[in-house]
């Protein structure tokens, strides 16, 4: 502007006019600085034309006794995502599904510079809602919005039952709109279809505690019941993580196993076969084997016993004895194998082969003392004893694998359970097991 321009008259200030309800005379507070289209008298619940200096009555509605007052009182201010908002309006809306009415509450949030925001609350679950600028693309049961896919959750007819305070639109009790929700936790995309218009809005799940903090409210927020449509799952975030971790550890285990296997010498140091004819052994049955060398570092020894048992058994008392020090490892092994046929078909029990591993055996010269025991009326049995030095022991890996697998399965199961509870409330409930669908 050039110099010398006389001062202009300043634009009219928002006036804190003393307004009174034309119906009951109660004082009316206007908080939204000219943004309000309608204002509801807090005293007699007449819906008034906020644009009319005389506050013409647009609608009166009957308030049921026991109407829940707003949890966040009108006039409360709080900061949401960096912007200060004042609660100027409150409405209760409901849908009716299979004869059951579900109520939720909506709070209108005002800032003189920014677009209106909304908070909704249902059973202690909160959403921070803003109107979409971009147009979502509906593809049958999903919606694409800003590159993300939202899944259809529910379509229902919402009814406005109770209003309080100011609204930047022409609000009426009894108003109906078809509301369709599409979810991608923690967000929900909602289309609201009235006679003239389709409005899309985006909600983001909020915890009551955060709202209480934002608006500096006394006491505790109401406890959240059940699982809400866009409530972020406390576990599904972890599902991917735990399976990635599982995969990483499983691969590591596999490498370790391969390493152990590679590092083990697995040398057969002794292998011999024996035979017990019918009626043998007579008297003292024990005998000793030839001496064999166990070389290398202190490591394990694997003894494999194979026997030609057939609906019979053999029991072998073993002692692995160090020829030089006399140190002995005593142990007994049973080899038994039974099979037959019954009403369920054929069956088998046991095995013709038994393996045992003795850990931490130092290097040295060793022999085995073997004492077979058999049934007195046994058929001829031949058996062989094989000794291997330094075999890889992989059982530990199996345990480690299970230790990793179990939490992954547990978390996956919890996540699936959470999603099942979420979708049970939708138009697409998961198949219920053991419950009749009536």
């Amino acid at each position: 502007m050039s110099a010398g321009t006389p001062p202009l008259s300043t634009p009219p200030k928002p006036q804190a006019k003393a307004l009174n309800c034309p119906q009951c005379g109660a004082a009316i507070t206007l908080r939204a600085l000219g943004h309000a289209e309608t204002v509801v008298c807090e005293s007699c619940h007449s819906i008034l034309d906020a644009k009319d200096p005389n506050l013409q009555i647009l609608q009166k509605f009957q308030v049921i006794t026991g109407e829940v007052p707003p949890l966040i009182p009108l006039g409360s201010r709080g900061k949401l995502r960096g912007t200060d908002y004042e609660v100027i309006g409150f409405q209760r809306r409901s849908i009716t599904v299979e004869g059951i009415r579900y109520d939720w509450h909506e709070y209108v949030l005002f800032n003189p510079y920014k677009a209106t925001h909304y908070l909704t609350e249902y059973n202690g679950h909160w959403n921070d809602i803003s109107v979409c600028k971009e147009l979502p693309v509906v593809n049958f049961s999903t919606v694409n919005y800003l590159g993300e896919v939202y899944r259809h959750f529910q379509t229902s007819d919402a009814n406005t039952n109770y209003v309080l305070g100011e609204f930047p639109w022409q609000v009426r009790v009894g108003e109906q709109a078809t509301v369709t929700d599409y979810v991608k936790p923690p967000r929900v995309l909602s289309s609201e279809k009235s006679a003239n218009e389709v409005t899309w809005s985006l909600g983001e799940y909020m915890y009551g505690a955060d709202i209480w903090k934002s608006f500096n409210l006394p006491g505790q927020p109401p406890e959240a019941f059940g699982v809400y449509e866009n409530q972020p799952s406390p576990v599904s975030e972890n599902v991917k993580g735990i399976w990635s971790a599982f995969l990483a550890f499983a691969l590591l285990l596999l490498f370790l196993m391969a390493g152990f296997d590679f590092a083990s010498s697995k040398t057969t140091v002794f292998d011999s076969s024996y035979r017990l004819n019918a009626g043998e052994p007579k008297g003292e049955a024990s005998f000793v084997t030839d001496v064999f060398d166990l070389g290398g570092r202190t490591s394990n020894v694997q003894i494999t016993t194979s026997a030609s048992v057939d609906n019979s058994w053999i029991y072998l008392n073993y002692a692995l004895i160090n020829q030089d020090s006399g140190q002995a490892w005593d142990f007994g092994r049973e080899v038994s194998y039974y099979h037959g046929y019954d009403s369920d078909g054929s069956w088998t029990e046991g095995s013709r082969r038994d393996t045992v591993v003795i850990p931490s055996v130092p290097a040295g010269h060793y022999y085995l003392r073997i004492e077979p025991e058999v049934d007195a009326r046994h058929p001829p049995i031949s058996y062989s004893v094989q000794v291997k030095r330094d075999v890889p022991v992989l059982g530990f890996f199996g345990i480690a694998f299970l230790a990793l697998l179990l939490p992954a399965i547990a978390i996956t199961w919890r996540s699936m359970n959470f999603e099942r509870m979420r979708w049970a409330e939708s138009d697409h409930p998961p198949i219920r097991i053991g419950k009749s669908e009536d």
């Binding site: 321009t5 000219g34 644009k51 920014k114 600028k133 971009e134 694409n144």
Partner: protein
């Protein structure tokens, strides 16, 4: 930018045009609506009192759009049955003029687009799709608005309107279009929605307590 100076034919106050292409302005003192002719200014009407306003924007509000600074020099105010909105006439520092619309604090910047084959008011329907400049738009709402008043400089004469039909369109990417059926020939404006913070507005109205 040239700032042609003349005087209000009604009250004699100095009239300064901030934008050389402005066709109409409103005398800040006597609220006469003045239209530029080849030689002087002609009074064509009078602006009544505008209703108490809720827009945080005012004449001389400055901002940034796509790295270009702009200043608000004029305004058209509309009302409809669900509220009102402002079309703020802005000039950018490259000499172009555009519109900053403020519909209950939802902001969009748009430019007049010369496009042939635009639909007539009777043809438009919610849900129709149009493609302009390789951008697909979906018609989301048709508004029968009521012209409520003007302020400041405008790029055309606009003072004798009553009811005006608008069709608003949106894209999947936040683009915005308006078909304006004020005149015999429909006019198209193409633009995009803007976040308040991104416009970096200065010289805004202040609101008590905020």
């Amino acid at each position: 930018m040239t700032q042609p100076v003349s005087n209000c034919p009604n009250c004699g106050a100095k009239i300064v045009f901030q934008w050389s292409s402005s066709v109409q302005t409103v005398c800040q003192y006597c609220k006469s609506i003045l239209v530029r002719t080849d030689v002087d200014l002609k009074k064509v009407g009078q602006v009544g009192d505008l209703p108490p306003d809720s827009s945080p924007i005012q004449l001389n509000t400055e901002g940034i759009y796509r790295n270009k600074s702009f200043v608000v020099i004029g305004r058209i105010l509309y009302e409809y049955d669900q509220g009102g909105w402002n079309e703020w006439h802005i000039t950018l520092n490259d000499g172009k003029s555009a519109w900053l619309s403020d519909a209950q604090n939802e902001y969009a910047v748009s430019f007049a687009a010369s496009m042939s084959g635009l639909p007539a008011a009777k043809q438009v329907q919610v849900g129709q799709q149009y493609t302009w400049n390789n951008q697909r738009y979906t018609l989301t709402v048709i508004t029968l608005a009521h012209y409520r008043g003007v302020e400041g400089e405008l790029p055309f004469q606009y003072w004798d309107k009553t009811d005006v039909t608008f069709a608003d369109l949106r894209s999947e990417t936040g683009k915005f279009a308006t078909l304006d059926f004020s005149d015999d020939q429909p006019a198209l404006y193409l633009g995009e929605f803007m976040e308040f913070d991104d416009l970096k507005l200065k010289n805004l109205r202040s609101f008590e307590g905020w």
